[in-house]
Structure formats: C-alpha cells, structure tokens
C-alpha cells in the first residue's frame, strides 16, 4: 500500500520490536522515515539498519526523556525535511515488582520514558506538525503507543500500568486540545496486547530467572498464547498495520480514539 507517499514520519524506539516493524511498514507505504533511538548514529546496528532499509530511512539519536534531545531533533527535522506528518511515540520500557519493594528510581524511570517522552515529543513537534497538517486532507497524526495495560491492571506492574494509563489520557487531552483550537493534528493511542518482541522476551527471561516462578520463558510465552482468546500472541507487524491506518488519510475523522489490538484479551 502506498497511502503515505510524500509524508515524513518519526518513530521513537524505532530500532526493534513494534517500533522496528512500524518503520518497515511506513516505508512500505511510501513515507520517509526517521528512526529515533538510544544508540549513537555510528553504532553498527544503526548502520546495518539504514543499509537494509535504504534511502528513505534516516536516524537520529534521541533519548525520549531528554528535553534537549527533543529540541535538537525538532530543529534537525525542520531543517532537513521541512515537515513532519507522523510522530509515533513508541519508545517504552517495563518495570516490574511489588509496590512495597520497588525502588522509587524504577517508578521514575518508567514514568520518564513512557509518559514524559510523549509529552516532550508532542510539545516540541507540535509547531512543525501544525504547519505540515494543513497540507494534507487528513492532517498530521500523532500515534502514542500505550498498551492494554493502560486500560486494565496487572499484578506487579504498577509503574507500567500507571504510565500507560497516563499515555491513554494524555492522548485524549491533546486530541481535544488540538481539535478545539483548529490545529490540524490528530492524536490517537494504540493498545497492543501481548506482542512477540524483544521487550516481551526479555521480560519473560527475567521472570524465569526467579526460581519461585518455576517456569521457563517458553512456558510463560505458551501461557500467554493460551490466555489470548484467538489462541496466539500478536506479531509486531500487526500493530504496525494499525499505526499505518491511523497515520493515513483513511483515519481523517479519527482523533482521541484508542485502537485495542489484543486478540480479544480485554474483551474477556
């Protein structure tokens, strides 16, 4: 599909997982895509990724928790591309453990990446996206990656739950704010269920190290497959398809909405 020809997109946490699949998909749709992630531009992984993806892709080193990084990314994108149609706020980390023993640092780190990152990105790219949005029928599009854990609670995931719930309502607040002021930026959230990504694998590996859990990472992944009504966890490309829809003019009347993509998990 080529719904995004001529559009420019930035994907945070775009080097792997859902972000990586989103980069692939937006490129397939014809967009020019800027990957924003933690590694320095000179890193081998970054270089190999750009090599594989080709000319329409580029890279900016950006820690979503750093205000200075966002400011300079906004300047760079304005200078090099002159527009930004699509901002995917995807960078995210988990933080597990019980509230009573959780270090305050963990809470603050999860909040900083998962929600401060969305605030800063929206803040610093809104001016350029306002200009860009006026040029297309559907307007510019911000897509914030929340989670089904932004809608329902989960044991030992309090900072993750809180940050993803915040992402859900930050999305609605900014959608209303922009629409009300006639600013041509749509804002929507995506709520993946369990998706096969490095984040999920690492989470399971870490949990399996705890002998009291008494299960291997593979066992736990199988449990997640079985716990999903459609019988399997999702693939990153299946989230990327929803993101591409929201980015396109097909979603021109969609703002303040939430796309749950979870194989029926939260319908139960």
């Amino acid at each position: 599909m080529k719904r995004l020809q001529g559009r420019v997109a930035l994907v945070t946490g775009g080097l792997r997982g859902i972000g990586g699949a989103t980069v692939d998909r937006l490129l397939d749709e014809g967009a020019v895509v800027i990957i924003a992630d933690l590694k320095p531009a000179s890193d081998e992984v970054v270089q190999a990724t750009l090599q594989r993806l080709g000319q329409a892709s580029s890279y900016v080193q950006l820690n979503v928790t750093s205000e200075a990084d966002w400011q300079s990314a906004a300047e760079t994108v304005r200078r090099d591309f002159g527009r930004l149609d699509i901002l995917v706020g995807n960078a995210g980390i988990d933080g597990v453990g019980s509230v009573d023993t959780m270090p305050y640092e963990t809470w603050k780190r999860v909040m900083a990446v998962n929600i401060d990152g969305l605030f800063l990105g929206t803040k610093y790219f809104a001016p350029l996206m306002t200009e860009t949005g006026a040029k297309t029928r559907g307007g510019a599009s911000i897509i914030n990656i929340s989670s089904i854990m932004g809608m329902v609670g989960w044991v030992d995931a309090s900072p993750y739950n809180a940050s993803k719930g915040a992402a859900r309502l930050f999305t609605k607040a900014t959608a209303l704010e922009f629409a009300r002021k006639g600013i041509p930026i749509r804002v929507n959230s995506v709520h993946p269920g369990f998706i096969r990504t490095p984040l999920l694998q690492e989470g399971m590996d870490r949990a399996a190290e705890d002998p009291s859990v008494g299960a291997t990472a593979q066992d736990m992944l199988a449990t997640l497959d079985q716990g999903t009504p459609i019988g399997r966890i999702g693939e990153a490309s299946e989230i990327a398809a929803g993101i591409a829809f929201l980015a396109s003019d097909d979603a021109s009347f969609m703002t303040g909405s939430e796309l749950v993509i979870d194989g029926g998990w939260t319908a139960q």
Binding site: R180, I230, A241, F253, S257, E258, T266
Partner: protein, 260 residues
C-alpha cells in the same frame, strides 16, 4: 486503491444509503465481491449498476428471511468473508418519558435483533467456508453507546447493547477456534441522509446543523467515506489480531469534555 480484499466476499446490511452504500463502494474498490441488503430498491439498482454488487431486499429483523438470504449468497458466491452489520434506525425514538411501545419495538428489532441475526448467520456461513473457517464481522454501533442522548433513548440503548453482543460473539468465535473476528465501530455524527433529514425537518435547521457540528471539537460532521477506511481495515487480514475491540471514530466527540 490497493486490493487488500481480493478474493473475499462481503455482506453489508443497510447498503442502499449512507455509510452502508459508501462501504459497498469502498470494499468493491479494494477487490471484494459485495452483496448488500436494504429497502430502497431504486437506490439499490443504481448502486448495483455502478459497482457490480448484488442487492437482496431483506429486512434485517426478519428472522425467517435470513436462511433464504444465506442460500442466495451461497449460490451466488460460494463463501462469506466479511459481514458489516450496518442497518440501523432511529425511527419512532423518543425520550424515556414519551417513547411509544411501537417506537421502542421497532428500534430494538432493527438495531439489536437485526444485528444479532446478521452476526449469527454470517458466523455460521463463515464457519463453513471452503478452505476452512474464517472471516471478519464488523458491527456498526455509535458513539451514543458511550454518551446516551436524552431524546433518543432506544437508539442509545440498542447501540450500547450491540457492543456487548460484539464482545460475546468475538469471544465465542475466538475460543472455539473459528478464526472469525468480531469488532464494533462507534462513529460520531456522520452526514448521511438520515442526519440531513433530521436537520431539514427540525424547527430551526441552521441551529440544528450547528448543534450537530459542534458535537465534535473538530466542529464538523464526518463524511461517509471517512468511516469506510476503518471498515475496510477491520475487514482485511491486516486486522488478524484484532477481535472484540470497539473503535470510536468520532473526531474526539467522546474523548472528554471540550472545556469552557
């Protein structure tokens, strides 16, 4: 237009006007073969000529008519991949204080029983598809499922009820391994003939139009073809991991309070 729906067969209820007719066009554009139901034979004939779709004069609430409709579809197309339970009405609606029993019964029949019959028969047909069970069912609810209207009580109630129907059907289809997905869409105010009619027949059409437009902070109603892209997406294999979801498409009308 890309051809995500090549080789698929779709049934759309209430396809002669509004969102339904626009969806007939969109799914045909994406490569699907489309059958639709409705009551306006003249409009139907035009749409068939334009798109190559087939028209079936069936009232969705008529339980006895469904087996025959499904036989017709089977003979014509041999399979069913997509069903859009779209037919809906607000005729005879009112407030809790003044709605008549006839008005209530009519709206429950079309919006609730009609959707139940559509999902039931579509699901049975999809289960028997040559090559194996599978399909996508989309229920057209409304943002009024989330924000009830005082003067359209039965509409609000039935649109809310079909969300529970969607989730129940989605779970059943998923847990029995059918590879049939069921999702609901919740549009805001879409400028269809139904709405234009309400505006024109109101006491003060200018004020009524402004009132409808102000429901979304975008200060406008949706056009029908702004809804069809979502139906096409949910119909396609791209949405293979989506079931039991309710997607609001309302220009932020229900995202929160607009502020003062």
């Amino acid at each position: 237009m890309s051809k995500r729906l090549e080789g698929k067969v779709a049934l759309i209820t209430g396809g002669t006007s509004g969102i339904g007719a626009a969806t007939v066009r969109r799914l045909v554009d994406e490569g699907a073969k489309v059958a639709f139901t409705g009551s306006n034979a003249e409009a139907a004939a035009k749409l068939c000529a334009e798109t190559g779709a087939s028209f079936h004069a069936v009232r969705v609430q008529d339980a006895d008519a469904w087996p025959k409709l499904m036989e017709e579809l089977h003979t014509l197309y041999g399979r069913l991949d997509i069903a859009f339970a779209n037919a809906g009405t607000e005729a005879g609606d009112g407030s809790i204080e003044n709605i008549s029993i006839e008005g209530w019964n009519n709206i429950v029949a079309v919006n609730q029983t009609g959707v139940m019959l559509t999902v039931q028969h579509a699901m049975r047909a999809m289960k028997a598809n040559p090559g194996g069970s599978g399909g996508a069912i989309i229920v057209n609810s409304s943002m009024n499922a989330l924000r009830a209207m005082g003067n359209f009580m039965a509409y609000s109630v039935t649109k809310s009820a079909v969300i529970a129907l969607t989730k129940s059907a989605a779970l059943h289809c998923a847990l029995t391994g059918t590879k049939i997905r069921v999702n609901a869409i919740l549009p805001g105010v879409v400028e269809t003939a139904m709405i234009t009619n309400l505006i024109e027949h109101s006491a003060d059409p200018v004020a009524t139009r402004a009132a409808y437009e102000s429901l979304s902070p975008m200060k406008r109603m949706a056009k029908v073809n702004e809804i069809t892209g979502l139906v096409a997406f949910l119909s396609s294999d791209e949405a293979a991991f989506i079931s039991g979801s309710e997607y609001v498409i309302d220009g932020a009308s229900t995202a929160g309070m607009q502020g003062v």
